[in-house]
């Protein structure tokens, strides 16, 4: 058979495409459930971290997450947990960063007077600059941070440790830091509007 002829070329290309795409869809099918589970686990882990719940293994995440109540307030889903006689709330948020959407979870106390924790689920900020919002030192600033007039300020000069309502910005990442400030304050306002009303 002539391997350079048109019919052969067409049939060959068709078979090659078919075989490869078929194999790929098999692999995709086989793993899609796992990918789904990974995503759920990632979200659960973020909620736990934002509520400052300690865990070590993936199984613990599932177990601990089962104790967390998901409550609906005006079409917002809040995650609620009781700890040390206190009720804490967390909400998954999405907002625009410099390059794309920043998804994360913010935890607050019942009266929204302090943040309990912050966790980033995903972001597209520049690695080494804005991307550093996902580093522990940045997120730990939000662990039990009292708010000032119900707001947060991301301060460029740094040195904010121990000051109410202020956290350090990421050096060199003005845009991302400003976006974080906007996103977080908008979140705080929303949380205040639903939680504050019940007090």
């Amino acid at each position: 058979m002539n391997k350079q002829s048109l019919p052969y070329t067409v049939v060959f290309s068709f078979i090659v495409c078919f075989v490869f795409v078929f194999l790929l869809s098999l692999t995709h099918q086989a793993t899609s459930e796992l990918v789904q589970l990974n995503q759920e686990l990632r979200q659960q882990r973020a909620v736990l971290r934002a509520l400052a719940v300690d865990f070590e293994t993936d199984d613990q995440i599932r177990a601990l997450f089962a104790d967390i109540e998901a409550v609906e307030y005006d079409d917002m889903t809040l995650y609620r947990v009781q700890r040390g006689g206190e009720t804490l709330y967390a909400r998954i948020f999405a907002g625009s960063g410099v390059w794309g959407t920043i998804n994360g979870v913010l935890g607050v106390d019942r009266e929204v007077t302090r943040t309990v924790g912050l966790e980033i689920i995903d972001h597209n900020e520049t690695p080494g600059l804005g991307g550093r919002i996902d580093e522990p030192w940045f997120k730990q600033q939000f662990t039990d941070k009292p708010l000032l007039d119900g707001r947060l300020e991301v301060v460029r000069e740094g040195g904010t440790e121990g000051q109410d309502g202020k956290v350090d910005a990421v050096t060199g990442a003005t845009g991302t830091s400003r976006s974080m400030q906007t996103i977080l304050n908008r979140e705080l306002e929303r949380l205040q509007s639903v939680l504050g009303g019940e007090a």
Binding site: L24, H28, W99, G100, T101, N124, T174, G175, T176
Partner: protein
């Protein structure tokens, strides 16, 4: 959710502060080889601008109207590459018909572009960041212009350093990389001016 990013800052950032080549390392292969000659750099740079803008727009449409509805997003790498190859081929034919002079100056660079990682890279960034159609096109155009700017600047610098005496091992690629390093630092310096990152 599509991010709400002002078009002007997206445009400027993709040219300067987050230059596709200097910050994301994309499109290096042809960059190093071609930047030896300024005329070729100009031609290739222009071709990249045109191809990037078109392919990002077409890939956006393919992604949002074909791949996502059919749940075939996992095939995007193959599909994007095919779209890029076809767009390049079509542009080559159109340019050939429309203007012979343009074809002579641009046409030879087009086949090189199919395997330029910057083209596929921009499409993949567009997908991950969930840009809207307009954002994608602006991002594609900005990245192309940024690449063009970077290759022109580098080939101008290389022209100056060509005759300089440097240690034998550093000649060629070594010196070029270090030059690109300085350029990357300089471009990061735009950050303060543009206030986008």
């Amino acid at each position: 959710m599509a991010p709400d990013i002002p078009l002007i800052s997206l445009f400027l950032a993709s040219i300067f502060t987050s230059n596709i080549l200097l910050a994301n390392f994309l499109g290096m292969c042809s960059f190093i080889a071609i930047s030896k000659d300024m005329n070729s750099s100009n031609g290739l740079g222009l071709a990249v601008v045109v191809v990037l803008t078109f392919t990002t727009a077409v890939n956006w449409a393919v992604l949002n109207y074909v791949l996502i509805p059919l749940d075939l997003v996992y095939l995007r790498f193959i599909v994007f590459i095919i779209v890029i190859a076809s767009v390049v081929q079509m542009l080559e034919m159109i340019i050939d018909r429309v203007s012979q002079t343009l074809y002579l100056s641009l046409g030879i660079f087009l086949p090189l572009i199919t395997v330029n990682c910057a083209i596929l890279g921009v499409s993949l960034f567009m997908e991950i960041r969930q840009y809207t159609f307009v954002q994608s096109t602006v991002y594609g155009l900005g990245s192309g212009l940024g690449w063009w700017l970077a290759i022109m600047a580098l080939s101008a610098i290389r022209k100056k350093t060509e005759k300089s005496k440097v240690p034998a091992g550093l000649q060629g690629a070594g010196l070029t990389f270090i030059t690109i390093g300085f350029m990357a630092m300089a471009f990061i310096g735009f950050t303060g001016l543009l206030q986008v990152q």
